[in-house]
């Protein structure tokens, strides 16, 4: 088969041709004859009682079709939450109502109150200014710890407090952990904040609703990472539309990073309004609106402690985290600080006893949910900062303290004390590799050169582990997930041998159209150009769970392998018939079926044609055609890991941190397309370093968003970074999926923040500022300068 088309080839991304030439078809490119435009009127206060809404003047304005308010949604369900967490006392979490449009109260800046639908967007906006809304502002709940005080105002009156849940993991270990701390030779304590982020995908969200009155068929075009999940959540829980009458299409999507997983009110609105008005309704978010309505990420406040024995072995770890849920529970919000965070607290280490406590809190802020990494960056950041601090307190090398406590290569599979079992890994290898590619040996010389220029140079290391390939359905069901997390694929072989693969995964930048085709091309031995990947439309793909959690190749790719194997098995039977041989003797190589040990063969097209023109075909024992569907449910998570090294220069005069070099040595298991993997790591690093140095979603004490545009929310630009050194030569393939792959989408964002902060602290300590133990992200010039001049 052609060398450049199969597994392991850095095939150029076929989808980029359309993206780069302006031929992509995004949701906003979809315009349906007769469509009206929706404009959402959003709350400009964080917390308030809605006294009245008078839309009569607006409804009389030119072009206005209708003004919708909560009253129109009286018979409609609320936006559902897809995960129920049970707390340390066996009680289920507090789950507030989340109406499509604010009903009686607004709970965050941006909470939608009313929607004007008009013939044009400008008419809708003009009329929106004429809708009179009387709101009595209430005291806002912003700070999480204050939100839990008994006299705090409540975000939701129907709940007993602002506490969503108080989760302990592993609750049974708590006493033993506390005891280990009492016996410890040394305890290191660190308090830190994991800053709130705004995902900011390049394409803001868009939703277009359509309805056919003659058939009762609804269609929603939406910027989603998982159209089937939206169909299930919105159809079953919000609008009561049976799935066979609801089609959800997520066409080309310009980035998601988690923020397009969730079911949003705007999707339910346009679907509902299209039927109510009997005409298509379109909503396109502006960038400003995205800041106010897309789920945000992170926002943890943590105290973490490590116990060590006299030989510097880790003996126990405990954490105490407050996790911000925002005003409502977004689709997967409760799972992020719990099952995607607590289970990762072992990191790369043999720490035998771990206890994680997480209090999830409602505040009058925009809802928080998964953002690239989702829980795992929060776990990695606190752990890797803590290990670094412990090494400094003990006067040992952070590198050697890590190496000493790593899980050893011969200890896999490794049962951690936080439920998960790591199948494979080699942390010593990735550590050695990252020190090599970052030229750690030459650091002192570089530091001296920086010093000569008046700059402080520092070297920071971080190791990470993540749980990807989400996830075994029976396991997540026990943990509170209200969905399965398998993936699906249908492989349709056409009569002349070309192949269409329908996948339940969704590509919004990941390059599936290229890499998935490489997998099938490799298996059958035909040119990848003969294979097309179709995704994103519930009307033609089997029920799938979509793309997030670095799962697409590990879970979706495995479903494609399963379906392709079914195809190959059937094709071999057909070949055996055509060649008058026994099925067991048929070998497939380079797109050709051969009877083993003979020169008798039939090529791929000969078999596919026979399947669809079955003149010479065993019709009595086998159906014609060549099309197979498979569902793959993983037996475990996958565990990518890696070592990251960051080198910085700090300007002592201004506090400005410059990244001089960043090196990543990742273990992703087997790799299908190294170029795409490198791109994923580079993008993840940009986001992780962005979090560490620049990005910060800030609210004032009244719940007003201070960083509501790119004027104040610092999105990294390319020139904020050096060229990254990315390596994935240390590979321990996953043992439980057919491709041996682990997932690479989130690694960069998970491993990089602690490496950056460790490097800055290293630079300050080398300059004698050992009094500075920690600086909270983002390490902006002003924050670093303030720490140095406190």
């Amino acid at each position: 088969m052609p060398k450049d088309g199969g597994i392991g080839a850095s095939t150029k991304r076929r989808e980029d041709v359309r993206f780069l030439t302006g031929k992509g078809r995004y949701t906003d490119d979809i315009n349906i004859r007769g469509q009206a435009y929706a404009w959402f009127i959003r709350s400009d206060v964080a917390h308030g009682k809605i006294n009245s809404i008078d839309s009569s003047a607006a409804e009389a304005m030119p072009g206005v079709v209708k003004v919708f308010t909560a009253a129109d949604f009286a018979g409609v369900g609320g936006i559902p939450c897809g995960w129920q967490v049970t707390d340390r006392f066996g009680k289920v979490m507090q789950e507030p109502k989340h109406p499509v449009l604010a009903d009686g109260k607004v709970r965050h800046v941006g909470d939608p109150i009313a929607v004007v639908v008009a013939e044009t967007l400008e008419q809708a906006r003009d009329a929106a200014e004429a809708v009179e809304i009387d709101i009595t502002e209430l005291p806002a709940v912003v700070n999480m710890k204050a939100a839990l005080l008994p006299d705090s105002p409540k975000v939701h009156e129907e709940l007993t407090s602002n506490l969503c849940y108080d989760w302990g993991f592993v609750e049974e270990n708590k006493a033993a952990v506390d005891e280990a701390f009492e016996k410890a030779a040394h305890v290191t304590t660190l308090e830190l904040v994991n800053n709130r982020l705004v995902a900011n995908p390049m394409e803001p969200r868009v939703a277009v609703g359509d309805f056919e009155s003659h058939s009762g068929q609804h269609t929603l075009y939406t910027t989603s990472q998982n159209p089937h999940v939206i169909r299930l959540l919105m159809g079953a829980f919000v609008l009561g539309i049976p799935e066979h009458k609801l089609r959800v299409v997520a066409p080309d999507v310009g980035g998601g990073f988690g923020s397009k997983i969730y079911h949003y009110a705007e999707e339910a609105f346009v679907t509902f309004a299209a039927k109510a008005l009997n005409r298509p309704v379109k909503w396109t978010s502006s960038r400003s609106e995205a800041f106010l309505s897309d789920a945000q990420g992170r926002d943890h406040v943590t105290k973490i402690q490590l116990a060590l024995d006299a030989d510097n072995n880790f003996t126990a770890l405990r954490t105490d985290t407050y996790a911000n849920m925002g005003a409502y529970l977004s689709t997967f919000a409760p799972s992020i600080p719990t099952w995607l965070h607590g289970t990762l607290m072992a990191g790369n280490y043999r720490t035998p006893l771990i206890y994680v406590n997480v209090k999830a809190v409602f505040t009058n802020t925009i809802p928080v949910d998964a953002y690239r990494g989702a829980g795992r960056p929060e776990a990695t950041f606190q752990l890797e900062r803590l290990v670094d601090k412990a090494a400094r307190e003990l006067g040992v090398s952070p590198i050697e303290l890590r190496r000493q406590n790593f899980i050893k290569p011969d200890q896999f599979p490794y049962q951690t004390p936080v439920a998960v079992v790591y199948d494979t890994g080699n942390y010593h290898a990735t550590l050695d590799r990252v020190l090599e590619i970052s030229n750690y040996a030459g650091f002192e010389a570089r530091a001296a050169e920086s010093k000569a220029r008046g700059k402080l140079r520092g070297f920071g290391l971080a190791h990470y582990i993540e749980a990807c390939g989400i996830a075994p359905s029976n396991l997540v069901g026990q943990l509170g997930a209200r969905a399965g997390l398998y993936e699906s694929a249908s492989v349709r072989v056409n009569a002349t041998g070309s192949i269409t693969v329908f996948t339940g995964s969704h590509s919004h930048g990941q390059g599936h159209e290229t890499s998935f085709a490489q997998v099938v091309a490799e298996m059958i031995g035909i040119d990848a150009g003969q294979i097309d990947i179709v995704h994103g439309d519930t009307s033609n793909t089997p029920m799938g769970m979509g793309t997030y959690g670095s799962r697409s190749l590990a879970v979706g790719g495995s479903a494609i392998v399963k379906a392709t194997n079914k195809i190959i098995n059937k094709a071999k039977k057909i070949a055996a018939h055509l060649l008058e041989a026994s099925e067991g003797d048929i070998e497939l190589k380079d797109g050709k079926f051969t009877v083993a040990g003979t020169d008798k063969s039939v090529d791929w097209v000969g078999v596919t044609l026979a399947a669809y023109v079955p003149h010479n075909y065993p019709l009595e024992s086998m159906e014609p055609g060549l099309e197979e569907t498979a569902f793959y449910d993983p037996s475990n998570f996958t565990y990518p890991s890696g070592g990251y090294a960051c080198e910085v220069e700090v300007c002592p005069e201004t506090g400005k941190v410059t990244i001089c070099a960043f090196s990543a040595a990742d273990d992703f298991g087997n790799i299908v397309n190294p170029m795409i993997v490198e791109g994923q790591v580079q993008g993840g690093l940009a986001q992780g370093i962005g979090q560490a140095l620049m990005e910060n979603c800030a609210y004032d004490e009244n719940g007003q968003l201070l960083s509501g545009s790119f004027m104040d929310y610092a999105m990294p630009r390319a020139d904020d970074f050096p060229m990254f050194t990315v390596d994935h030569s240390c590979n321990t393939p996953c043992t439980h999926n057919p491709l041996g792959v682990k997932g690479c989408g989130e690694a960069g964002a998970i491993g990089s923040p602690p490496a950056v902060v460790n490097a800055v602290i290293d630079a300050l300590h080398r300059a004698g500022r050992t009094d500075i133990a920690h600086i909270d992200m983002p390490l902006t010039p002003s924050r670093v300068w303030s720490a140095m001049n406190a």
């Binding site: 201004t654 400005k656 800030a698 004027m711 104040d712 929310y713 610092a714 902006t780 010039p781 303030s786």
Partner: protein
């Protein structure tokens, strides 16, 4: 954006006449005005574009220095002022991004007087003269606080005249998100003395740092500034830095500007 009328006069007289109408507002490069109109924070009935007026464009040497038409884009200043006044050209070439520099104009920037804009520092440190359709205003009299200037209703800047210094430099420390000046300092050395203007830092907008000017007039070297400090009182404090930080940056940047001056 609300609907508005757009007129594009070709002479200053026509522009002044158009601006006399109810609800009319001058439009230069639109880099501030258009975004605020898109957000519906500003809704003029009529925009009077100043970019089609030939006599308001271009860079040339004239009486007492370099004359720049108010409707000249930053990109043009960056190129055409490079020989005569390199520090000014460099400032212009460092504003925003290429799209901003090819739209935004020097007159628009000075009329808006954003507290974080670059041009006010150049005009004030150079002791420039702001020429309008009515009069000439000394830079020292022109800047009157954040977004406030000496311009009267309907008065438009037509030209800015910069005396050319012996040496000058502008250095800005960028706000990480917007890349406007978190603090920017323009130092200009004239035979009559040194002028130092600080932008981005003060709640009162661009200002001259008198102590630094006196010290540098006596000794044009970074060491002359050692014993000086600015107070953080009255400085802008926000997400991106405290008043003390901005005051500190002003000193650091002044020293660096003295070193960089050419």
């Amino acid at each position: 954006m609300h609907n508005f009328e757009l007129v594009k006069p070709s002479t200053i007289a026509e522009a002044v006449a158009a601006l006399g109408q109810e609800g009319a507002q001058a439009l230069s490069g639109g880099q501030t005005l258009i975004p605020t109109m898109k957000q519906r924070l500003n809704m003029p009935d009529m925009l009077v574009s100043l970019t089609g007026i030939a006599e308001m464009k271009g860079v040339c040497k004239g009486d007492g220095g370099l004359h720049i038409g108010a409707a000249t884009q930053h990109a043009v200043v960056a190129k055409e002022a490079a020989a005569a006044y390199p520090a000014l050209a460099k400032l212009a070439g460092g504003i925003g991004d290429p799209a901003v520099r090819n739209r935004g104009t020097i007159g628009g920037s000075l009329a808006n007087n954003d507290p974080s804009a670059c041009y006010p520092a150049a005009a004030l440190a150079s002791g420039a003269t702001i020429v309008t359709n009515q009069r000439s205003i000394a830079a020292d009299d022109y800047f009157q606080g954040m977004f406030a200037t000496a311009l009267e209703e309907g008065e438009i800047i037509t030209e800015i005249r910069f005396p050319i210094p012996e040496k000058a430099a502008y250095l800005k420390f960028e706000q990480p998100a917007s890349r406007f000046a978190l603090t920017g300092v323009f130092v200009a050395k004239y035979p009559s003395g040194v002028r130092v203007a600080v932008t981005g830092a003060s709640n009162d907008g661009v200002f001259r740092w008198a102590e630094a000017e006196a010290a540098l007039s006596a000794n044009f070297a970074p060491s002359a500034l050692e014993s000086l400090s600015l107070s953080g009182e009255g400085m802008i404090a926000d997400l991106h830095g405290s008043g003390d930080y901005r005051a500190h940056l002003a000193k650091v940047l002044t020293k660096r500007a003295v070193l960089a001056a050419s």
